[in-house]
Symmetry: C2
Subunit: 360 residues, 2 copies
């Protein structure tokens, strides 16, 4: 168990690391960011930082010696890096969870083996296996690289009449997974936390709206039935348990209607704090960032109740230019990530708005 | 007006600077802490820091060149330091407000000249002027050094029969002020913000309980009449206006009953974020730290509504050892200041507890 004054090491220096560091400070922890990019946003709020590559094992050795526990902000930390660190210091979540969630095929197989519903899927290695997968799953289907996809990158839809070989070329002929297209009503997610000794807490299921494959807005409460709400928590609990997970994670799901009843189909697991949990920063008793620190530190989990009807809206690219309007809006909470350049599609910040129940 | 990406310079590296820096980051600002003490708590959460003395004018010159605006966390910044910086970069609040509030005699005179009620007071330079002051004001009275007093330091009560010369010796025979003792019901304070162009916002009047002259607990709502609540805001507004104040400040007041009606008597002005405003960190829509940043940056002020019945309790000295109990208490918010050593009387952190109105 960490104690105040100890140092939390974080791999990755983006906005998630930045918000974890901002949450760690009031809990009395120092933070040390490890990231390769010059001017990483998290460097600005941390006690120390190391700017080095993820395969710079000398730098990793020094980093391991300078921190009391290591966590990370993104799932694409090389497993070799996580394992190197884990031989020297506690790493949460562990390399096992990382390995599974880095590979869409391993992840889907893992979830399906738990008896949790996922879209039909099949491995794709080449054109022949793609043709076989299409024959089995049918169209429309989504072809995704097994690794390194995010925000819609590394995936392509294959509809009736589309050329399968061209689709495979479009994702770089990387090892892939073909998934049956799920005709969903909306996308939802559960952000949850689990501790090493098995304590578990999940935030209310959240409703997510994407634009151009990037999360645009999250809303709680979600328009789901109480049954779906309960089932979604149970799914997160079982996934966390089976992964032996420590920290905050998100389960992205499709909300579907089958025979007139709502249900959910698991789409993806994110082994980290998650954009769809940013609403908790002002909208819940404990933010997902504090919760992650608590879980990783081996501390009691915080209360997950929401404070009202909450809306989180991302500021993408030059939408961040609206910062002054946000500041002028009573009750809106501005969160900028300290990124110098507002490139198109880049997450520059977000806004939370809390509507208290008695306002309704 | 500051813009995201600009740098806020902060003089002082203690918990107030730390919490200002933590509030500045989500608004997109970088922070640069200037403090003489090794291992200052605010260094851990800032983009940059300068460890140098307040009269190191070469270091101040570099600091002024590295930041876009300067603020401070404590009223004892040497006026020469503030003026040196103000010749190079905007300093908020300004040296004028600093000069008045550093000197209890100047401050009391200033408030009294606004027609706002303060305890009867008189200047004390030596034993003779102390005797004259006692004859005028009567006993009990409180003898306070004009400068550098905080948390009850530099003050002594003179009761019936006490030796006045001994009291003067006890405060080091420094230039002083004698104040009539106010038989107050309780201590209250108003934390408010003002911008350069005269916008003003005040948090609800707060009720404060001290132990050993150190703030122990703040509570809102305070047990005061609506009239006192309104008057206290009006007092803060007029003081802020007369000082041409920019930033967050606190007005400490005594709640008294005269002829059966509650009233307030101003005790002290703090030209900075204030311990009695720490409840706003989880208990108000906008925290006093964010509000200070907004005011200093020239931005719109945030909403000041409280979220419920709020209690803020300081963790003094080894009370901070209770951190794990606080973490285990649902809904309690832990704020540790990252201080290495828990000396007696040292403010190590605080806890906020919010009781939502519908729980009552």
């Amino acid at each position: 168990m960490l104690k105040p004054g100890y140092t939390l090491g974080i791999l990755g220096g983006g906005q998630l690391a930045r918000m974890i560091a901002l949450a760690a400070a009031p809990l009395g922890l120092k933070t040390h960011i490890y990231a390769p990019e010059d001017g990483s946003p998290a460097f600005d709020v941390a006690s120390a930082h190391t700017q080095a590559a993820y395969d710079d094992f000398e730098a990793l050795e020094r980093f391991a010696g300078a921190v009391d526990v290591v966590t990370y902000e993104f799932e694409n930390v090389p497993v070799a890096t996580a394992e190197f660190l884990a031989a020297r210091v506690s790493v949460h979540p562990g390399a096992g969870a990382l390995g599974i969630t880095q590979d869409r095929l391993a992840e889907k197989t893992f979830v399906a083996n738990l008896g949790i519903e996922v879209a039909p899927f099949a491995a794709v290695e080449d054109e022949a296996s793609l043709e076989a997968a299409l024959a089995e799953i049918g169209r429309p289907a989504v072809l995704k690289t097994r690794r390194f996809g995010y925000d819609g990158k590394g995936q392509v839809m294959i509809r009736e009449g589309d050329d399968a070989a061209a689709a495979f070329a479009a994702i770089g002929r990387h090892p892939a997974i073909l998934e049956g297209f799920v005709p969903f009503i909306r996308e939802v997610s559960v952000v949850a936390a689990r501790t090493e000794d098995g304590r578990f807490a999940a935030y209310e299921i959240t409703q997510n709206e994407h634009r151009h494959h990037i999360l645009y807005r999250s809303t709680v409460p979600a328009e789901v039935t109480p049954a779906v709400s309960a089932v979604s928590h149970e799914i997160a609990r079982r996934i966390g348990e089976a992964l032996g997970y420590v920290g905050v994670f998100a389960v992205e799901m499709f909300l579907v209607v089958v025979d007139g009843a709502q249900g959910v189909i698991v789409n993806e697991i994110a082994p980290r704090v998650h954009n769809s949990g940013h609403w908790t920063l002002d909208g819940a008793v404990t933010s997902q960032f504090e919760q992650h620190v608590r879980a990783v530190a081996g501390w009691p989990l915080g209360a997950v109740e929401r404070l009202g009807h909450v809306e989180m809206t991302n500021l993408i690219g030059d939408e961040a230019n609206s910062w002054l309007d946000v500041l002028a809006e009573p009750g809106a909470h501005l969160h900028l990530y300290g990124k110098a350049e507002a490139r198109p599609g880049r997450k520059m910040g977000h806004v939370t708005r809390i509507f208290f129940e008695d306002d309704a």
